[in-house]
Amino acid sequence: MIKKDLFIIMKQETIAENIMELTCTSPLTKQMTEPGQFLHLRVDTSEDLLLRRPISICDVDVENETVTMLYRIDGKGTKRLSLKQPGDTINILGPLGNGFPLEATERGETALLVGGGIGVPPLYYLSKQLTERGVKVIHVLGFQNQVNVFYENEFSALGETFIVTADGSYGEKGFVTDVIKQKDISFDTMYTCGPTPMLSALQTAYREKRLYLSLEERMGCGVGACFACVCHVEGDTTQTLYRKVCTDGPVFPVGEVVL
């Protein structure tokens, strides 16, 4: 029943503008086998920052009991988190939520992994696991501009990788959807995580495909009790059915929830 521990920080460094790479250790990492799940971090014990911060799992070394998270410094909580040093501890709850279904893609098939901004990190652990299962992976990763780009080499080591920037300062210019079309990328399954407009565009364009989307929503508890992160169910005429992003998701198959 215990899913909470004080994780010890092993390493923390800046890898792109306002993007931090944080590696921690705890025996709880042995439970982190499902890509796409998230961790709920209590930044410190102060009362001014009361709520936990949901951060996706980027990579796990189960054998050495380490987990890597990438996060963007975006407010008071993440700013304070970025000041923590190796040897410090963080109160972490998790793993939480339901991740990407690996079994949706057969050995020998092709999976297209599409990420946007801070939605890119969970695709790395997914890509590693798909690759280990004999799935061919292609990545299309979108960023605002060159200074925001991270993990290009890491993804490239696993499969073909296209970097897209909104201003064209690095890689392809435009949106991830443009690049998928321009490069005429064919695939059997698409897994995606990123801002809602990007997910919505992908859902519209590839509704008939095997598509799994990881949603972001402001959370309270992260365990399904507060009903803060709910979304409507597609086709529900009563408008009362819902899914919780924290416990039913964050990953949903195409067409299940209203974006």
Binding site: L50, L51, R52, R218, A225
Partner: protein, 315 residues
């Protein structure tokens, strides 16, 4: 007899700690984290006559030492709660407090009449103070004679004791408390959230989709303590205290102010193990304070600490 046991109308509690309504769902989520029988009671999420989806998202915003929420009473409705939630909770030997909300008196009466008949519902908590929906009962909770009328109507149909959950968003909470006591309320729950707001600087818009929301967490604790202290000296019925409780020390403070039991809300979101941790720490606090029983704390800081308001009637 356990040092932590308290007895309130309808609620025989092994300890004075229950999760607050709206902060614990219907218990299923937290059953993944600890044994629910550790709790003194469980106040389940508000039930309305019909199922409600609630407000648009974002529904929560962090504040300094607190949070704003505008969930909007999302719940599966009376039928859903009776068919899917309460039978599941029956596997646990814990008193259940069913929180009832509505938009009209008839909603409250219908929902209470049915819910109070369910075997494992030991008390009704009348939600006349939700600030997050246009007709979330707040109109009932701000006018003394209206609150009294609703209480009377609900008491007429309830098979179990009725606790009225009071809003802090009023000029004189004592007046409301006295009115619902006179109308037959068996106890009070206080306080509900304080109406608040936060604004996104870049968007120049409220952070909550609903605009305003209910402030909870340790930021409101002093307000809750003050109101409980005031009300406990003006009424004879027991009070379930709530508002920013995070630790066993907070529980002691609420009981000294006049609460006979407490409910833990936002702390469950910060830490799903908050309730069992608080309960576990309570015995040590009693030792530290050289107090034999939690019952001896009730009303201990009241002006009339030696009168009936010290809680002797509710031991």
């Amino acid at each position: 007899m356990s040092r932590l046991r308290v007895e309130l109308p309808g609620l025989s509690m092994r300890n004075p700690v229950m999760p607050a309504s709206g902060c614990f769902g219907f218990g299923k989520e937290y059953a993944n984290y600890f044994d629910l029988e550790l709790l003194g009671a469980i106040a389940i999420k508000a039930t309305t006559a019909e199922a409600r989806f609630g407000n648009p998202t974002p529904r929560v915003a962090e504040t300094t030492a607190g949070m704003l929420n505008a969930i909007g009473l999302q719940n599966p409705g009376l039928t859903g709660v009776m068919q899917n939630e309460l039978p599941w909770l029956n596997q646990y030997n814990v008193p259940i407090v069913a929180n009832v909300a509505g938009t009209e008196i008839d909603d409250y009466v219908e929902t209470t009449a049915k819910l109070s008949q369910v075997e494992n519902v030991h008390a009704i908590e009348l939600n006349i103070s939700c600030p997050n929906v246009k007709q979330g009962g707040i109109a009932f909770g701000t006018i003394p004679h209206v609150a009294a009328e609703l209480t009377r109507e609900v008491k007429n149909v309830s098979a179990v004791p009725v606790y009225v959950k009071l809003s802090p968003n009023v000029a004189d909470i004592v007046e409301i408390a006295k009115a619902v006591e006179a109308a037959g309320a068996d106890g009070l729950s206080m306080i509900n959230t304080l109406l608040g707001m936060r604004i996104d600087l870049k968007k120049r818009k409220p952070i909550l989709a609903n605009g305003y929301g209910g402030l909870s967490g340790p930021a409101i604790k002093p307000v809750a303590i003050r109101m409980i202290h005031q009300v406990s000296q003006a009424v004879e019925i027991p009070i379930i205290g709530m508002g920013g409780i995070q630790t066993a020390e907070d529980v002691v403070e609420f009981m000294l102010a006049g609460a006979s039991a407490v409910a833990v809300g936002t702390a469950n979101f910060t830490d799903p193990y908050a309730c069992p941790t608080i309960i576990n720490d309570l015995t040590q606090i009693l030792d530290d304070l050289e107090v034999e029983s939690v019952k001896d704390l009730i009303g201990g800081a009241g002006k009339n600490a030696t009168s009936t308001h010290n809680g002797t009637r509710f031991r």
